[in-house]
Subunit: 358 residues, 2 copies
């Protein structure tokens, strides 16, 4: 099935219209018309080969919301017309310990990414910057939201990446939770931790983000460059979710954890963080951890929770043809807080569209 | 009560005979005649002011086994003649969350160390390089071992420092546990993890420690400089206890943890470890943690377990006057695996003793 898409032809070239092939749905497959696709920083890393493993042409996009257009004969629980989501994974081995426990993101044989998937061999996968996708039912999520589906799309990556560690480390009522950084991930971390009932403190370097942090659900906002403000929170956090991928001093946050607290990193810096001070770990039995997206069962749980609590992302909608400009703005953190592509702009180019459009 | 001791008069001077004052036992106090005192690397760090906080004269020693010689009127559960132990702490605030939970080593107001204790104010404390000590009953441990009491002494620090994290992270039957380094701490880590029923792998840089590692209870010994041997254990450990305080590459061990595994540091390096790779944490939700000695309740549990299972340390007994030589040998790792001072040599100097002896 030839399918319109936007692809990076090479690391140093802008994304441009491209036609990809989608497979004919098999017995377990679901075909989805893509309505919206969020723009994740990983899309940019991959399009520009910043992780050194990109296969070209590369079609990014793993925050997908759409409508079921066909379902294979063995598909259960989905029917044509359903609103569904697809996140960062479209397959995994299914039989390792992590898959068996519903933690497909840690598949010991390597999950297949929604785009640039076959890191460990196999055919390339093409993501959500396209009009449709065909996915095994095991990796398709039900979307319970009735409207604002465009703002649901980023839940499939930014939402689950923050939800999973918040749940794994048992945050909720009675817990003091920090969120470091107010970007695509951070703003979801604040919303979700607040909705879970935790006392939420946002850490940001930008005084102009204080008001927004509180609007999103933070009980307090701390300017992390202000040592005096930081000192007031020493030894007081149960859990801190650190969404900042740029290299920075982790000790400043480790010192804010109480005994047995955890500082969890969900972003990997291009240049290493300064080495954390071992005494800061030893003297309070603190932990420095990492977390990767979340499993399918957990992603469904997150989507259901968000539908029930009316939680969506704060987004700015763009047309497909504006993706390269959006990447540049994303690099300047000039987005509150996630770009989402209206995929109708790929199918039905506006009159007077730029030459870059389909 | 004037009490013979050995003290460092200054950072750059050897330990020498010195007389200290012990308080008259109060209602809750226990007076102990010290039989044996282990020699911990912390003793040397403190004697030489390597942590920059030493108060002189400094009397080290926090691996103490002795006999009760007097008990205050409100002392319960101890009587004159009992064999008892004293570890790294002689007091704590008693009312913070950590103290309330029996985790006095994490006292939020700072525990009082057995020596060089008043880091946060108060009178200096003098440790086990002396003939007697007076300690509040809350910080005195019962020793169930009937013989080889000299080899029990290092359990009070080397034993509990390895026991506590092994218990906290639930090692035991069905768990694969690594121990990095075969010194005073490491040899106890191997013995205890083995006795708890875990599958134990010792990591050492010294091929000549393989046989000893197996004798002590390791199911396998891996030469950590051998990348091929290391690779065979990738993603397989539930828990790794890292006893090496010298700066080294933590990624080599993080990579050996399975999903949700923990690498726990119990030694702090003088120069920082190279910064661990964040991807190694994220991709398996691994944790880098630290742990500090153990609480009093836990120390008693460890001593009872060791008495029941016939576990003691591998030691080399020395006379008090040989402490400075022992420090030099300890710096060369020339001890299997802990020096213990026979305190009879302080009370009753041998005929023809060196000028350094009492």
């Amino acid at each position: 099935m030839p399918t319109p898409a936007y692809a990076a032809p090479a690391a140093d070239q802008p994304l441009a219209p491209h036609t990809i092939e989608r497979r004919t749905p098999g017995a377990h497959d679901i075909a989805i018309e893509i309505l919206y696709c969020g723009v994740c920083h990983s899309d940019l890393h991959t399009a520009r080969n910043e992780w050194g493993n990109t296969i070209y042409p590369s079609v990014p996009g793993h925050e997908i919301v759409g409508t079921v257009t066909a379902a294979g004969k063995d598909v259960k629980g989905f029917k044509v017309g359903d609103t569904v989501g697809v996140g960062c994974m479209v397959d995994s081995c299914g039989h390792c310990a992590s898959c068996a426990e519903g933690e497909e993101q840690y598949c010991e044989n390597g999950f297949t990414g929604t785009y640039n998937g076959p890191v460990f061999g196999g055919e390339n996968t093409y993501g959500g910057y396209s009009t449709s996708i065909v996915v095994d039912q095991k990796f398709v999520l039900r979307v319970g939201h009735k409207d604002h589906l465009e703002a649901v799309a980023p839940l499939l990556c930014a939402g689950i990446t923050t939800w999973s560690p918040l749940r794994h480390w048992n945050t909720g009522p009675g817990k003091k939770v920090g969120v470091v950084g107010l970007g695509g991930l951070g703003h979801m971390g604040v919303k979700l931790a607040h909705a879970m009932g935790a006392h939420v403190v946002l850490f940001t370097t930008s005084p102009n983000k204080v008001a927004d942090g509180k609007r999103l659900g933070a009980d307090a906002v701390v300017i992390s460059k202000d040592a005096g403000q930081m000192a007031k929170h020493a030894n007081s956090f149960d859990f801190i979710l650190n969404t900042v991928a740029a290299s920075h001093n982790l000790d400043a946050f480790l010192n804010l954890l109480k005994r047995d607290g955890t500082l969890c990193l969900v972003g990997a810096p291009e240049h290493p963080h300064p080495s954390p001070t071992v005494f800061n770990l030893i003297f309070k039995r603190r932990q420095l951890a990492g977390s990767l997206i979340g499993g399918i069962r957990e992603t469904q749980e997150m989507l259901d929770f968000c539908a029930e609590h009316g939680i969506v992302c704060d987004i700015e909608m763009i047309a497909m043809r504006d993706i390269n400009t959006a990447y540049e703005r994303m690099l300047r953190s000039d987005v509150k807080y996630r770009f989402v592509i209206d995929m109708a702009t790929l199918k039905k180019p506006a009159v007077g569209a730029t030459p870059n459009a389909v």
